[in-house]
């Protein structure tokens, strides 16, 4: 199959910010995402999962430039305030135009 490279951005966040985060992603031009819920441990020791259910794990396929835009937004609005972690992995998809 002919495939096209895209970026796969994964964000793990304390559940309380889920709605706000998805709204901000939409504003940043993200057109699709998949959310699963989980538990986690990190360095902020907020243990948000104790009282607000679980962490959310948001996965979104997007262009490299869009990924960059979202990372910048996260760095400014989320990393300093909330228990949020994000990383980008390279990925190959068939229908590139669906995500770019």
């Amino acid at each position: 199959m002919r495939t096209v490279p895209v970026a796969c951005l994964t964000i793990v966040a304390e559940a309380v910010v889920e709605a706000r985060l998805l709204r901000d992603l939409e504003t940043a031009g993200v057109r699709g995402w998949t959310v699963t819920s989980g538990q986690g441990r990190g360095t902020s020791h907020i243990d948000a999962s104790d009282w607000e259910g679980a962490n959310v794990r948001i996965e979104t396929l997007l262009s490299t430039t869009a990924a960059d835009r979202v990372l910048a937004m996260l760095s400014q609005e989320y990393f300093p305030r909330f228990a949020v972690v994000a990383w980008v992995t390279p990925a190959q998809v068939v229908r590139g135009d669906k995500f770019l």
Partner: protein, 318 residues
């Protein structure tokens, strides 16, 4: 004394203590998240239904004064909490505002346990008491967020959103929805759902308190970090606010049971609606402070000592 012993030997409080013990032993007895959420929805609806059925019987005239008193208490009690916290702790203004917001709101489960206690004793109280719970759920959170003042100015957008979140949140929606359903439903149709929402209520409370015990037990580990001042405040505030609630309740003509319940409401701290709103609106505040005080100290204190205290005071005054 006997009242305190009665409270402690109720299955609900014993289950809570079992949960705390399990948390200390790191034994996993928690209910799954999905079930915890479902049980809390059940408790909100059940309390609402019962209060709504009570509202139907009471005239507007009877309810108006207690509701006004509750609104006033919702504004005054967080301010008292703020003063106590400034006197007893060295929390930063933002952290203080964050803790304050929790004491302005109420704890559904503390209220619920108090109602179950009255029911098991056969003591009377105003059947619309749950209405006061709904009235007190929100204003205290707002006052707390306002007290955060300049410190949180930057997070202004966050504050509006947090308020919206509380107002359309599950707690308010199910509680007021339950009140409406209880008030509108015909008595005979209400009776068909009573086996689930009334008869099973004390048993479900046992399961829920087991689960809350684990959460509170985990919070106990953070108590040393919170410092002695904050722990003392977490006992002083409920006593002050609870007593005020009882006094005002008695003054506006509530029965001893009802005045005691109003004291339970003003004396308790929110650990569901408030933390979520505060986390969004005041992300700079350290959650360890407000969760430890509301869930780790004030909640168990009220469950074991506060409730009998407020009822004793109400009977003494009534």
């Amino acid at each position: 004394m006997q009242a305190a012993l009665d409270t402690v030997t109720s299955p609900a409080v014993l289950a809570f203590l079992l949960g705390v013990l399990a948390a200390l032993l790191r034994s996993d007895v928690r209910l799954p998240d999905a079930v915890h959420t479902a049980l809390s929805s059940y408790l909100l609806l059940a309390i609402g239904l019962k209060g709504g059925a009570g509202l139907r019987q009471a005239g507007v005239g009877e309810v108006a004064l207690p509701v006004l008193a509750a609104v006033a208490l919702g504004i005054v009690t967080p301010m008292l909490a703020w003063v106590v916290l400034r006197a007893l702790t060295r929390l930063s203004p933002v952290d203080r505002a964050a803790v304050t917001a929790h004491y302005g709101s109420t704890s559904l489960v503390t209220f619920t346990a108090a109602v179950a206690l009255l029911d098991s004793r056969g003591d009377a109280y105003e059947p619309y008491a749950a209405t006061l719970l709904a009235v007190l759920e929100v204003p205290g959170i707002l006052v707390g967020l306002l007290l955060a003042g300049g410190a949180a100015a930057a997070a202004g957008a966050g504050r509006a959103e947090a308020v919206r979140e509380v107002l359309t949140g599950r707690s308010i929606m199910l509680l007021t929805g339950g009140l409406a359903i209880g008030a509108l439903a015909t008595p005979s149709s209400y009776d068909t759902v009573a086996p689930l929402f009334v008869t099973l209520f004390p048993g479900v409370l046992v399961l829920f308190l087991l689960d809350l015990g684990v959460l509170a037990g985990r919070r106990l580990r953070d108590v040393p970090a919170a410092g002695p001042g904050l722990v003392v405040a977490a006992v002083v505030i409920p006593v002050v606010n609870g007593s005020l609630g009882v006094l005002v309740g008695t003054a506006v003509g509530l029965s001893p049971g009802g005045a005691g319940l109003l004291g339970v409401l003003t004396g308790s701290a929110s650990y569901i609606a408030a933390p979520a709103a505060v986390r969004l609106a005041l992300p700079q505040a350290n959650p360890a402070y407000y969760l430890t005080t509301s869930l780790g100290v004030t909640f168990p204190f009220n469950l074991v000592l506060g409730i009998p205290l407020y009822f004793a005071l109400a009977r003494a005054l009534g």
